[in-house]
């Protein structure tokens, strides 16, 4: 009984008390309470399908009451500084706004390559054919001028079905 106190030199519990009760029990009630609350909260935020879309980093999506689930398409992201296509930076926002034309040439070229690739895969007999779907993730402070130019560029290349990604609020 006194082995630990003799060998280590300090006592976890006073010896008298220990010898009187013989054994001790952990008080787990509050821990179980915590686990129960955590469990309920996590079950509420459980989703079976997981996250389809990855968000670009320098970006805050606007909030919306939309409920449509996102699809797996290519993603044009308009962050605070760059326009990205599938995660690759294409052109700076300031350059887009500086130029006078409505179509963004560098983005148009990348979209053309993407479309050629998708159509090539479709011709090989894979399931995915070119459907003209594209998802646009825009930062909430993007001016409409920039959004318009990106959308016009997408439309010019045949991506007519645009999905605007938003954060869902209940």
């Amino acid at each position: 009984m006194n082995l630990s106190s003799e060998s280590t030199g300090w006592q976890l519990f006073p010896t008298r008390r220990r010898s009187r009760t013989g054994s001790f029990t952990l008080r787990l009630t509050s821990m179980i309470d915590m686990f129960t609350i955590l469990l309920v909260f996590l079950l509420k935020s459980y989703s079976a399908e997981g996250q389809i879309m990855t968000l670009a980093r320098d970006l805050r999506l606007p909030q919306s009451t939309a409920t449509l689930p996102p699809k797996t398409t290519s993603i044009v992201a308009i962050t605070r500084e760059w326009v990205l296509l599938d995660g690759r930076p294409i052109v700076r926002n300031s350059e887009v706004l500086k130029s006078g034309e409505l179509v963004i040439p560098s983005l148009l070229k990348e979209l053309q390559d993407l479309r050629a690739l998708t159509e090539g895969i479709g011709q090989l007999g894979a399931a995915s054919d070119f459907a003209g779907n594209i998802t646009i993730q825009g930062d909430r402070a993007t001016p409409f001028e920039l959004l318009k130019r990106v959308m016009v560029t997408c439309g010019r290349m045949g991506y007519n079905d645009m999905n605007l990604a938003v954060l869902r609020t209940e």
Partner: protein, 151 residues
């Protein structure tokens, strides 16, 4: 007398414990599993399609002579235009736009033309994306699900 004897006996034998080790094991497994699969950011999409092969939306949708509602979003407020109705301009109050007033006006249009579902939003260049999305939400909730953007 009897009660006192019973109490005394229970005290000498100690309190009864519920065996919670099984529940605890279950929790310890479930909590990490749910933490891994939890999705904290829910993403949805707003669908928006351009008329095929066209550059801009808006006036190009001439294939059906639907009731064309045009909502201009300017820096200083909303201006809704619909056929044979005149709407007051909804001024911007400080930082926030008058979404409530817009909803009322849209409902009035919906009451007059119940079959109308199309609306064209025409924002000014400097309007923020956040505002556009909110306007689109307002239109959808008021019963105009076919939204197009015109620049």
């Amino acid at each position: 007398m009897n009660l006192k004897a019973a109490l005394g006996r229970s005290r000498t034998r100690g309190e009864a414990d519920v065996n919670i080790i099984g529940v605890l094991n279950l929790f310890l497994i479930l909590v990490p599993f749910l933490l891994l699969t939890a999705v904290f950011v829910k993403i949805a999409v707003l669908e928006l399609s351009l008329p095929a092969a066209g550059r801009k939306g808006g006036v190009a949708t001439a294939d059906k002579p639907a009731i064309l509602n045009i909502l201009a979003v300017e820096e200083d407020g909303f201006q809704l235009n619909s056929p044979y109705m005149s709407h007051a301009k909804l001024p911007r109050v400080g930082e926030s736009f008058d979404y409530k007033g817009l909803q009322d006006q849209l409902k009035a249009v919906k009451a007059k033309y119940p079959e109308s579902e199309d609306i064209v939003i025409s924002p000014a260049s400097s309007i923020l994306y956040e505002v556009i999305v909110k306007v689109m939400d307002t239109c959808r909730e008021a019963g105009f699900p076919n939204i197009s953007l015109a620049g």
